[in-house]
C-alpha cells in the first residue's frame, strides 16, 4: 500500500529551479534510499515533505497516507505520522529535552488514540529508548541539542523517531559525522523500528550507511530529477565509480 506518492513536483528557490519534475512512490514496508551529489536538492525534498515555510511547489502533487500532503500544515504532517530526522538539527537553548519530547509524544499519542503519558511514565519510556540509543539520562536533562556532539544530535533525532512512531521516516544524512560505532547504533535503531506498517526514506551522500540499513530501492537525484532508480546494487556502483557516470549520462 502506498504511503507516499510524489507526482512530478517542481520547485524553484529564488527563481533558481531546484527540482524539475521528481516522482516517487513509497509503499509501506519499504526502505528507499535517495542518493545524489551535494546540492542536488535532497534536503530540499525533505523540507518540501515536512512542510517548511518557503518551500512551495510551482507544480506537482504529493499524497501521503491517502491525504493531500500539501493541504496539511507542518505540525499536522507530523501528527499524521511523517517524521524528518534533520541533517542539521537546531539547538533550542532553554528548552529542556525532556519537556520537548513529552510535549511532542503526547500530541502524537492523542492522534494514535493512546492515552497521554504523565511525567513519570514518560520519563520511564524515554529513558528506556534513550538507553537503546546510548543516550545518557544526563543528556535528556539538557536543553534540546545544546552541547550535544554531532553524533549525539543524530542519535537524538533517531530517539525522537522511535518515540513518535511515524508511518514514514525521512532520514536526511543521518550518517554524516558519525564514527563506525555511532553508525551501528543509529542503524540498529532504524532497523528495529522499520516494519511492514511503516516506511523509511534514507537520504545519504555515501553508500556506507546502506551496508547497515539495506534499502529495497535506490534513487539517484541529480540535476533536479531522479536520474536513475534501481536496487541496492546501484549504490555499490556509485561507491565504485562516483556520480560522474550517472550525472554525465544525462
Amino acid at each position: 500500500m502506498s504511503i507516499l506518492n510524489i507526482k512530478d513536483i517542481h520547485l524553484s528557490i529564488e527563481e533558481k529551479p531546484i527540482l524539475k519534475g521528481v516522482s516517487l512512490n513509497v509503499n509501506l514496508g519499504e526502505v528507499h534510499a535517495i542518493m545524489g551529489p551535494n546540492g542536488s536538492g535532497k534536503s530540499t525534498l525533505s523540507y518540501i515533505l515536512s512542510g517548511k515555510e518557503g518551500y512551495d511547489l510551482s507544480s506537482g502533487e504529493i499524497n501521503f497516507d491517502n491525504k493531500d500532503l500539501l493541504e496539511l500544515s507542518a505540525n499536522e504532517r507530523s501528527n499524521q505520522g511523517l517524521f524528518l530526522a534533520f541533517q542539521y538539527p537546531v539547538e533550542l537553548p532553554g528548552v529542556s529535552s525532556m519537556n520537548f519530547l513529552r510535549e511532542a509524544v503526547n500530541i502524537r499519542r492523542k492522534v494514535l488514540g493512546k492515552k497521554e503519558l504523565n511525567h513519570l511514565e514518560f520519563v520511564k519510556e524515554a529513558r528506556r529508548l534513550a538507553s537503546s540509543m546510548f543516550i545518557k539520562d544526563e543528556m535528556l536533562k539538557r536543553s534540546v541539542n545544546v552541547g550535544f556532539s554531532g553524533g549525539e544530535k543524530k542519535r537524538f533525532e533517531i530517539l525522537q523517531m522511535m518515540l513518535l512512531e511515524p508511518k514514514l521516516a525521512i532520514l536526511d544524512e543521518t550518517d554524516s559525522g558519525l564514527d563506525v560505532d555511532a553508525l551501528k547504533i543509529v542503524s540498529n535503531g532504524v532497523n528495529n523500528y522499520k516494519g511492514k506498517d511503516n516506511a523509511v526514506i534514507v537520504i545519504t551522500h555515501y553508500q556506507r550507511l546502506l551496508d547497515y540499513i539495506v534499502p529495497d530501492y535506490v534513487h539517484i537525484l541529480a540535476d533536479g530529477v531522479i536520474k536513475k532508480s534501481g536496487g541496492p546494487e546501484l549504490a555499490k556502483i556509485i561507491e565504485k565509480n562516483g556520480y560522474a557516470g550517472i550525472v554525465d549520462a544525462a
Binding site: 512542510g51 505540525n75 517524521f83 534533520f86 538539527p89 533550542l92
Partner: protein, 417 residues
C-alpha cells in the same frame, strides 16, 4: 507660546504650601523641579514624558490612616501594605523584633543622599516631586547580625487615577545581616513616583524582587538609589509588565571593596506600552562585581528601552562588570532600544556588554512544528526558554515559584490578541 497643560511645578508648590508649609526641607526638592525632563535631555530622550505632562493630576493626600485594604496578604511573608503610597499599619503584619520600622522626614532624605552628585539623580523628577510631596517616609532597618527567616513583602496598592502617589522607603541592612524582599506595584494612579533608598552595610545581603505591574493607564517612574559597603551583596530582579509607561531607574553606588550588585530585569510589553529599565552602576572601590542583564519581549506597538551605564573609577581596579541586553520582537511595529554607556578609568578591569534584538528564530520554530507541536505552543515554549535563563540566574529559590508564575501570566497576556 501658550502651554497646553498645567505647569506641574505650580501644582506641587501649591500642594506643599497647603500641606507642609512649615517644612523648609521639602522646599529643597521643590525648587529643583521646574518641569518634566525634555526630550533633549539625553537620559530621557528614549523615554519621553509628553503624555504625562499633558495629564491633569494632583498629589494624593490621605486624611484617614485607617483604611484597610482588601488585598489578601500572604502568610509566607511579613507583609507591609501601602495604599496610594501611604503606609497602612492596620493592613500590615507585625514585624519581628529584628526589623525596626520608623518614620523619617525630608531632612533625613537630604542627609541620606548627601554623597550623591550625579546630575541625572539630582534632577530626576521622582526625587524632587516625591521628596517634596511624600506623605510617609518609612525606614526599615534590619538590625545587625540578623538573618530574617521569612521574606518581607511590600504591597503597593491603591486606586486614585487622578492623583500622583509618592511611596518613599529607606531600607537599611546593617552589618552581617540578610533579608529577602518582594515588592509588588499594583497601583492605579496617574503617576506612581516611588523613591527608594537601599543602604547595605558591611557584609550584608539583600535579595530584592520587584514586580512593576501597575494599572494599564498608570505612569510609573521608579527611582531606586542604593549604597553598598564592603562585602555587601545585593541582587535585584525587576519584572516590568504593567503601566502605560514604566521606567525603573536605578543608581547603584559600590562604596566598599568586594561588594557586588546584580541588577537584572525582564520586561514584557504589548499594546502601546512603554517599558524602560535604566541602570547606572558606579564602581568606586576595587574588587567589586556587577551585572546588568535584561531580557525584553515586545508585541504589537510596544516599545522597550535599556540604558545601562557602568562607571569605573581609577582606583576601582579588578572590577568585573557585565552587561547584556536581549530583546525579542514579536511584531513588526514593536521597537526596542538599548544604550550602553561605559566610562572606565581603571585599567585592570573586565567589562563586557552586548545587545541583541531579534525575532523568534524560524528554524527553531520549524523544529517544533516538525515534531507536531503547533505554532502557538512553540512560540510559548521559545519565549519561556528565552526568559528562563535570566530568571534562574537572578531569582532566589524562595521566590522562584512566584516569579515563574507571575512571568508566565504576563507573557501569556502579551501574546493575546
Amino acid at each position: 507660546m501658550q502651554r497646553k497643560y498645567d505647569d506641574f511645578s505650580e501644582v506641587i508648590k501649591k500642594h506643599v504650601n497647603e500641606n507642609y508649609l512649615e517644612d523648609d526641607y521639602r522646599k529643597f526638592f521643590l525648587k529643583k523641579f521646574s518641569d518634566w525632563p525634555s526630550p533633549t535631555n539625553e537620559t530621557w530622550r528614549l523615554s519621553r514624558l509628553g503624555k504625562l505632562a499633558r495629564k491633569k493630576f494632583i498629589p494624593y493626600v490621605s486624611s484617614s490612616k485607617k483604611i484597610k485594604n482588601s488585598s489578601i496578604t500572604n502568610n509566607a511573608y511579613y507583609s507591609l501594605v501601602f495604599i496610594n503610597g501611604i503606609f497602612s499599619k492596620v493592613s500590615s503584619d507585625i514585624l519581628p523584633e529584628e526589623i525596626e520600622i520608623s518614620f523619617l522626614s525630608a531632612k533625613d532624605l537630604i542627609t541620606n543622599l548627601n554623597e550623591i552628585n550625579n546630575k541625572s539623580v539630582l534632577t530626576h523628577p521622582t526625587l524632587n516631586i516625591t521628596g517634596s510631596c511624600f506623605q510617609d517616609f518609612i525606614k526599615l532597618k534590619i538590625k545587625r547580625n540578623c538573618q530574617i527567616d521569612k521574606p518581607l513583602e511590600l504591597l503597593q496598592t491603591g486606586n486614585c487615577p487622578n492623583n500622583s502617589i509618592h511611596p518613599l522607603i529607606l531600607i537599611e541592612v546593617e552589618e552581617n545581616s540578610n533579608v529577602k524582599i518582594l515588592e509588588k506595584f499594583e497601583t492605579n494612579s496617574a503617576l506612581n513616583a516611588p523613591l527608594q533608598i537601599l543602604k547595605l552595610q558591611k557584609n550584608s545581603k539583600l535579595e530584592f524582587i520587584k514586580f512593576h505591574n501597575d494599572d494599564i493607564e498608570t505612569t510609573n517612574l521608579s527611582l531606586l538609589i542604593s549604597f553598598l559597603k564592603e562585602d555587601a551583596n545585593c541582587n535585584i530582579f525587576n519584572l516590568i509588565n504593567g503601566g502605560a509607561f514604566t521606567r525603573s531607574e536605578t543608581h547603584s553606588y559600590l562604596k566598599g571593596e568586594n561588594s557586588s550588585m546584580n541588577l537584572n530585569c525582564v520586561y514584557l510589553s504589548t499594546g502601546f506600552q512603554h517599558h524602560d529599565f535604566t541602570s547606572s552602576i558606579y564602581h568606586d572601590y576595587p574588587n567589586c562585581n556587577s551585572s546588568q542583564k535584561v531580557r525584553g519581549v515586545l508585541n504589537k506597538n510596544s516599545t522597550g528601552v535599556f540604558q545601562g551605564k557602568i562607571r569605573v573609577e581609577k582606583k576601582a581596579q579588578k572590577t568585573n562588570a557585565q552587561q547584556m541586553s536581549k530583546a525579542l520582537i514579536l511584531s513588526d511595529k514593536a521597537l526596542s532600544n538599548s544604550k550602553p554607556e561605559l566610562e572606565i578609568y581603571a585599567d585592570d578591569v573586565i567589562c563586557s556588554h552586548g545587545a541583541t534584538v531579534g525575532e523568534l528564530d524560524e528554524d527553531q520554530l520549524f523544529y517544533f512544528l516538525s515534531r507536531g507541536i503547533d505554532k502557538q505552543k512553540a512560540r510559548l515554549m521559545l519565549i519561556e526558554a528565552f526568559l528562563s535563563e535570566i530568571i534562574e540566574e537572578s531569582v532566589d529559590k524562595i521566590f522562584m515559584n512566584e516569579v515563574v508564575t507571575e512571568t508566565e501570566i504576563a507573557f501569556k497576556k502579551i501574546l493575546e490578541n
